[in-house]
């Protein structure tokens, strides 16, 4: 387990990704995009129809999150990760089209792991249920697509030192698996 914190900036470059290992503490600075269930369905349908996506996917990070509404005077409401596994059927397609990072919570499928290795991408875990704290790392928020989806719309966020842990790296490393083995007592 690394104790130093690595800094990464978006868009993510291949060189930065190969240096990330499962268990690394990382802080993200730059632009990230929120998308969850319904937005993923639409993004993948757009790709299948050959349409342009609402944002340029290459090198980007998607944050599996649906924020609470921003109260007056705040740039964003509470914003923590949702369960990543629900996006597993969509993620490999997005990764194959240039998506380089995903932020969420919880373990993922073998297909996602394979896509990370094949396309040099990374899955990052943010702590679920600490959404007020995570909102304090967001500097700006802009709704850019699917406003009719409410909390499931796509928001473009500018974040500064947003704290995550590398959960699955581009080398096949999987923190959920490794840590279970390390701490399991039965």
């Amino acid at each position: 387990m690394q104790t130093i914190t690595k800094q990464i900036r978006t868009p993510l470059l291949d060189d930065a990704i190969v240096n990330l290992k499962a268990g690394d503490k990382v802080e993200i600075t730059g632009t990230i995009y929120t998308a969850r269930d319904q937005a993923h369905k639409r993004l993948v349908e757009s790709i299948q129809r050959g349409e342009q996506l609402p944002f340029y996917l290459k090198g980007q990070i998607i944050y599996y999150a649906g924020p609470a509404p921003a109260p007056p005077g705040k740039v964003v409401g509470s914003i923590g990760p949702t369960t990543s596994a629900r996006m597993d059927s969509y993620a490999p397609i997005l990764v194959s089209h240039g998506l380089k990072g995903m932020i969420g919570k919880g373990p993922r499928s073998g297909e996602v792991k394979d896509a990370l290795i094949r396309y040099n991408a990374v899955y990052l875990a943010a702590t679920g249920g600490v959404a007020a704290l995570l909102s304090s790392y967001v500097r700006s928020s802009e709704l850019i697509a699917y406003p009719e989806l409410g909390p499931e719309a796509i928001y473009k966020l500018e974040v500064e030192n947003f704290p995550v842990i590398v959960a699955m790296d581009a080398w096949g490393g999987d923190l959920y698996e490794q840590s279970r083995l390390l701490y399991r007592e039965i």
């Binding site: 387990m1 268990g23 509404p69 919570k105 679920g128 600490v130 390390l182 007592e185 039965i186």
Partner: protein, 279 residues
């Protein structure tokens, strides 16, 4: 008979929804503090420290502790000497509507589960459970709960021949899901009753304060044993490895059919939201 206008229910549900979403259950916060020293994983310790920081920040900034402000379950205990004037279900929904629309809480309810999945826009309807009790009071317990922990729940009609061993095995199998339920979790177990009652029992078990022990000593012992076993799974805070996977296990039981052994396991995340009032 004591007459209570349902408008009071609306006002209380509104207030309780806002409070529950902003203020972490005090017993949960205490348990996180108390168990921090038992966590061996550095990542686990850091996650628990984030939980404490988040709870403080949510109160100071008046922000929801979790962005998934959930679906609202309301447990109403109505005294038999009370007459409620008006439609209590509508009154509860109006309270939820006010809290979620005016209180900047996320709306997470879709009207149709299967086809359109269109957001209702005001987080209604609430899911309401009513118990008739003795007295002239109404107790209102509001539990907003996120979709992630709800999806981790399990219910199974076990074979009677399996006895206690089968129950333990099923709870431990369900506990593997804790990683998806934002651990450290509260585990609620219902044993007995029927298919419908056992789920409700598991859900109600989540409401019990963490220091509370089941008055039946054998059940209290089982609660303690399962907690120890679950905390050997290695899942840890946020599922990133460690010792503190669950804060507590609460078990409720009730009579059942000679042919039945229903068991349900429900989870509450560390961002446990609950608030209550008595009218």
């Amino acid at each position: 008979m004591r007459e209570i206008p349902v408008l009071m229910i609306t006002e209380i549900v509104d207030r309780l929804c806002r409070k529950a979403n902003t203020v972490l259950r005090p017993d949960v916060l205490e348990a996180i503090h108390a168990m921090l020293g038992m966590e061996v994983s550095p990542t686990g310790v850091e996650v628990m420290e984030q939980i404490i920081k988040n709870a403080d920040l949510a109160v100071v900034e008046q922000l929801p502790i979790c962005q998934d402000t959930g679906y609202v379950t309301v447990f109403l205990e109505i005294g038999r000497e009370v007459v409620l004037h008006g439609n209590v279900y509508q009154a509860i929904d109006e309270g939820v509507r006010r809290a979620y629309v005016d209180g900047y809480l996320r709306k997470s309810i879709v009207s149709c589960p299967l086809f359109e999945r269109e957001n209702t826009g005001d987080n209604t309807p609430a899911f309401v459970n009513i118990d008739m009790v003795a007295g002239d009071k109404v107790r209102v317990v509001v539990m907003p709960k996120g979709g992630g922990t709800e999806n981790a729940s399990q219910l199974r009609m076990l074979s009677v021949a399996g006895e206690l061993a089968a129950v333990k095995e099923f709870v431990m199998e369900a506990a593997e899901n804790a990683a998806k339920a934002c651990p450290p979790v509260i585990v609620g177990v219902g044993i007995g009753g029927s298919f419908d009652k056992v789920g409700l029992m598991a859900k109600k078990a989540l409401l019990r304060p963490i220091p509370d022990r089941n008055p039946d000593l054998r059940i209290a012992q089982l609660e303690a044993e399962l907690l120890t076993e679950i905390n050997k799974l290695g899942i840890g805070p946020a599922g990133l490895g460690g010792r503190i996977t669950a804060l507590t296990v609460k078990i409720e039981t009730m009579p059942t059919h000679i042919a039945c052994l229903p068991v349900a396991v429900a989870f509450n995340c560390h961002a446990a939201r609950q608030a209550e009032a008595i009218i």
